[in-house]
């Protein structure tokens, strides 16, 4: 007699473990199935270890650049073995924490690759397990780029790029100007590599607000990164002096070669929706392998839910987490929907963050778009941080004053964006942001000032 669970969650990444724990909190008997490591991509080889490396790189850079206020560090250097150990320590602590949370909430954990036998049964490591409901949270994996087959030695994906123990290459080519490409480009640059980043589209972060995306590109270029947009990596040949990459300028159709030691392929990620037997039991996937769901995270088969990267972009851990809660609550008989604004962050320094609509989206949606800007060069706090490159930009509706979105480049943009996220959820007006007292001196004052600027009433900048 196979064990029968109320809910089986397949995948224990951020979305999966949120779903499992919430369902357990709601009194359900829950099994979590993990094919690899508890915590998924985010905790093991994604968000968390990348941020650890970014921080180390930033501290190193800070030590080197501290001269402006008199900080003298004779020779700043990083012990890469210690760095790797620190990174692993954080990962272990967090993944161990997830296992502890499972225990604390009586979520059972089983290791193995789950495959659906029918819509009430999965097979894991040869064992058939029955569940009344399932949440598919299998996530995503790096998208391969034809001609640039990842070997994790010379051609890396985001997982291989995390390995820092053996030192950094002298020359790196990053293919892809999304969050992953930009973050690794900066880590490697700050660790001493010459880094070239190519992006196929006309700007880095192609979907983002062009003004802030281009500003970030400008700042990163100033830091020494070579960024080439409208550029395609055609092919690579291994030669004596390194990897010879042919690049094509898509505007002029001119080709040239670039010699590097390693290549990072960061051309997006693809869903892990196939191979689970989902299609065989009638769950609909789209042509890219994304599992189709509605706003309640239900798939086309009742009782089977899907969340996170495997459903549809944006491929973001915090989106997956919220979707996990929505699915778990619905699977437990509740009535939740995913109707929230999802912020998007790039953790370079300075950071880039956005939530809500861009100007273009707002005007397409029929709003009378108004924009308020506050450059960090006018912020006292930014000056004291030695980081005045940046911009806080708000998008609002000229008719109703409704706040529509925010786009930020600057230190702590990832934290600043939370205020705007809350404001959007609360249906705040731009005036509301302007009238809220922000502590001085802080970077968050910039949000208040940008709001005032939208109404042509900013104090510290010209109101044009």
């Amino acid at each position: 007699m196979p064990t029968n669970y109320d809910l089986i969650v397949i995948g224990t990444g951020p979305g999966g473990y949120h779903a499992a724990i919430r369902a357990a909190q709601l009194g359900k008997k829950v099994l979590a199935v993990e094919a690899e490591r508890v915590g998924g991509v985010c905790l093991n080889v994604g968000c968390i270890p990348t941020k650890a490396l970014l921080h180390a790189a930033e501290e190193l850079e800070g030590a080197k650049q501290g001269g402006a206020f008199g900080l003298e560090v004779k020779e700043a250097s990083l012990d890469l073995k210690k760095l790797a150990g620190w990174r692993e320590g954080i990962v272990k602590k967090l993944t161990g924490g997830v296992s502890q949370l499972f225990k604390g909430n009586k979520v059972e954990l089983k290791t193995g690759f789950a495959k659906f036998v029918d819509k009430n049964t999965i097979e894991v490591a040869g064992e058939r397990i029955q569940g009344k409901a399932f949440i598919v949270a299998t996530g995503s994996e790096p998208n391969p780029l034809p001609g640039f087959e990842v070997d994790q030695k010379e051609i890396l994906d985001s997982t291989g790029a995390l390995r820092v123990e053996d030192g950094f290459p002298r020359r790196l080519l990053c293919i892809g100007g999304g969050a992953i490409g930009l973050e690794f480009a900066q880590i490697y640059k700050r660790m001493g590599a010459q880094v070239t980043l190519v992006e196929f589209m006309g700007q880095i972060l192609p979907a983002a607000d062009p003004e802030t995306a281009n500003l970030l590109a400008k700042i990163l270029t100033k830091q020494g990164l070579v960024i080439r947009t409208n550029t395609k990596a055609q092919k690579v040949e291994k030669k004596k002096d390194g990897l010879v990459v042919t690049l094509e300028d898509l505007k002029t159709a001119k080709q040239e070669t670039l010699v590097v030691d390693k290549i990072l392929v960061a051309t997006g990620r693809r869903p892990r929706g196939k191979g689970l037997g989902l299609e065989a039991i009638g769950v609909k996937l789209d042509e890219h392998g994304y599992v189709l769901t509605n706003e309640k995270m239900e798939t086309s088969i009742p009782g089977i839910w899907a969340i996170g990267d495997v459903t549809r972009p944006p491929l973001l851990a915090h989106k997956a987490m919220k979707e996990g809660l929505v699915a778990a609550e619905n699977a437990a008989g509740g009535n939740a929907v995913m109707d929230y604004h999802v912020p998007n962050v790039v953790y370079t320094s300075p950071e880039w963050a956005a939530v809500g609509m861009t100007e273009e989206e707002a005007s397409k949606a029929g709003y009378k778009v108004k924009v308020g800007r506050f450059p960090l060069s006018a912020s006292g706090r930014a000056m004291t941080l030695g980081s005045t490159d940046g911009l806080i930009k708000l998008v609002g509706d000229g008719e109703t004053d409704l706040l529509l979105g925010a786009h930020i480049v600057g230190p702590s943009a990832s934290d600043l964006i939370a205020e705007v996220g809350l404001a959007l959820e609360m249906g705040a007006t731009v005036t509301d942001l302007g009238l809220t007292v922000h502590a001085h001196p802080t970077l968050s004052e910039g949000i208040m000032e940008a709001a005032e600027h939208l109404h042509k009433q900013a104090i510290h900048i010209a109101n044009r």
């Binding site: 998208n143 196929f200 944006p314 959007l424 609360m426 249906g427």
Partner: protein, 477 residues
């Protein structure tokens, strides 16, 4: 331009309908008069025919929504007007060749992070994950205020999106309310938790019937819902019993019944009068007439006789055939006799109405009762067939309670419960214990309109006629 389809007036006095089921998907072709959506009004289900030929562009209301008459429910595009499915549109990328697909895939994927857009829900094949490039002209929905399903996690603040705080959205969902219908008191009509609560309280105490006939309430509106204790009650599952309960949405007939019953409970002063009737003679008479009726193809029950007796009694006691118009502070006495007949249909109680009972023969009534009961059980009643009762009868006896306290079918003033006929010992006028065919009657009446003595006299009149059924001949027109 796509055409808007509105919920038509399905019957007189019907002010709203519940969208039960969409019969076609967005993007499906429609012929003129092809049924495309199932709507329930009061308790009757109708399939609406499409007023136009074309393509169903968009459903503007969800299954389970209660929609007022004349509200838009769908957009239908004229034939030839429909633009290519989203997935057919190519992103505005440089001419593609082999090997170029991957970077542009990434680019598009990234783009979709922040671009708002809608996804066609039902058609898996046409559901495009990646949306057309922003620089290319997009399929522009001319009705941008209509709710569309945004990609998950990206609810763009499209015009018409309800501005509501997250806690209010959550509460509305839990109460089964459509946030779009809740008036917000904040800036830009922002809906706050308090708005949802007061809307819910209003909903709980109103029904379509009350909205139509009694809009100006004499009592102060803010005092009404709370003082009557009809704020929606949230049921919380006791700890440890989570696995042993199932929950289903309150929808369709069950919701209509719930609203109607609550209205009856709240807006009548329900009082009970119980009596018994000796049916021995009627049982004998019906046995004699049964074969005659069968010869004409009619099943003859006791109901037509009871209906006849009831109408005769109503003529003598017209207060039981009246309604109260609270708005105008008037008592409406009806000089016609339409008798509602409670039927236990498979999906719930329904009350079809026999019209002009005083002008029909026993045989005609018997025939009509059978027809209406069959229609009720097969769910084929029209809205007209369940409205306009002046008094109702509920036959509890067919299932077998000793007696019960019926709930008034508002806006009627009273309802008569009739029970099973049983042989019981009775003391006759000569003090002998005899076996008689006895039946209980329970008259439930609105004490605002009917006095207790009147109700008792009404019952006595019904009893007088049924105990000596030949007296009914005296009432024949």
């Amino acid at each position: 331009m796509p055409k808007e389809v509105v919920l038509p007036e399905l019957a007189e006095s019907v002010v709203e309908g519940e969208i039960l089921r969409w019969l076609v998907n967005e993007g499906d072709k429609l012929k003129k008069d092809q049924p495309f959506v199932e709507v329930m009004t009061d308790k009757v289900t109708v399939e609406l025919p499409s007023p136009y030929e074309g393509v169903l562009l968009q459903k503007l209301v969800k299954e389970g929504d209660v929609v007022p008459v004349h509200a838009s429910i769908a957009l239908i595009a004229e034939p030839g007007e429909v633009t290519a499915p989203i997935s057919d549109q190519k992103p505005d990328a440089p001419p593609s060749e082999q090997g170029r697909a991957s970077p542009s895939l990434q680019a598009q994927e990234e783009r979709s992070i922040v671009e708002p857009g809608r996804v066609i829900e039902d058609d898996g094949a046409s559901l495009s994950l990646f949306r057309p490039d922003g620089r290319q002209e997009q399929v522009k929905n001319p009705f941008s205020t209509a709710p569309t399903l945004p990609p998950q996690g990206q609810t763009p603040l499209a015009p018409g999106r309800v501005i509501a705080v997250p806690a209010a959205r959550k509460l509305a969902r839990e109460l089964g309310l459509d946030i779009a219908r809740i008036p917000g008191s904040g800036p830009n009509g922002r809906v706050r938790v308090a708005d949802v609560k007061s809307y819910a309280a209003d909903q709980g105490s109103k029904t379509s019937y009350l909205e139509t006939i009694a809009t100006p309430q004499p009592a102060p509106p803010e005092a009404r819902p709370t003082s009557l204790g009809v704020n929606p009650v949230q049921y919380k599952t006791p700890r440890g019993y989570e696995d042993r309960e199932t929950r289903v949405q309150l929808r369709g007939v069950r919701r209509a019944i719930s609203n109607q019953m609550l209205a009856s409970h709240l807006y009548t002063v329900r009082t009970l009068s119980v009596d018994e009737v000796d049916m021995t003679e009627l049982v004998a008479m019906r046995a004699r007439l049964k074969t005659d009726a069968e010869a004409q193809g009619v099943r003859l029950s006791y109901l037509p006789f009871i209906f006849k007796a009831v109408v005769a009694a109503l003529k003598k006691f017209p207060s039981l055939n009246s309604s109260l118009d609270e708005a105008r502070q008037e008592v409406v006495q009806k000089n016609y006799y339409n008798i509602g007949m409670a039927v236990a249909a498979e999906n719930g109680l329904i009350v079809p109405v026999l019209r002009e009972v005083d002008r029909k023969s026993i045989l005609e009534l018997a025939n009509e009762i059978n027809l209406l009961a069959d229609k009720a059980r097969s769910g084929k009643l029209s809205p007209e067939e369940i409205s306009g009762s002046t008094f109702s009868v509920t036959n509890i006896g067919s299932i077998g309670a000793l007696f019960s306290f019926p709930i008034i079918n508002v806006p009627d003033a009273a309802i008569l419960g009739i029970h099973s006929i049983h042989k019981r010992p009775v003391v006759d006028p000569s003090d002998q214990i005899v076996v008689r065919q006895m039946m209980y009657l329970s008259l439930s009446f609105d004490h605002r309109l009917v006095d207790g003595a009147e109700a008792a006299r009404f019952c006595k009149e019904v009893i007088r006629l049924l105990e000596r059924p030949e007296r009914l001949f005296l009432e024949v027109l």
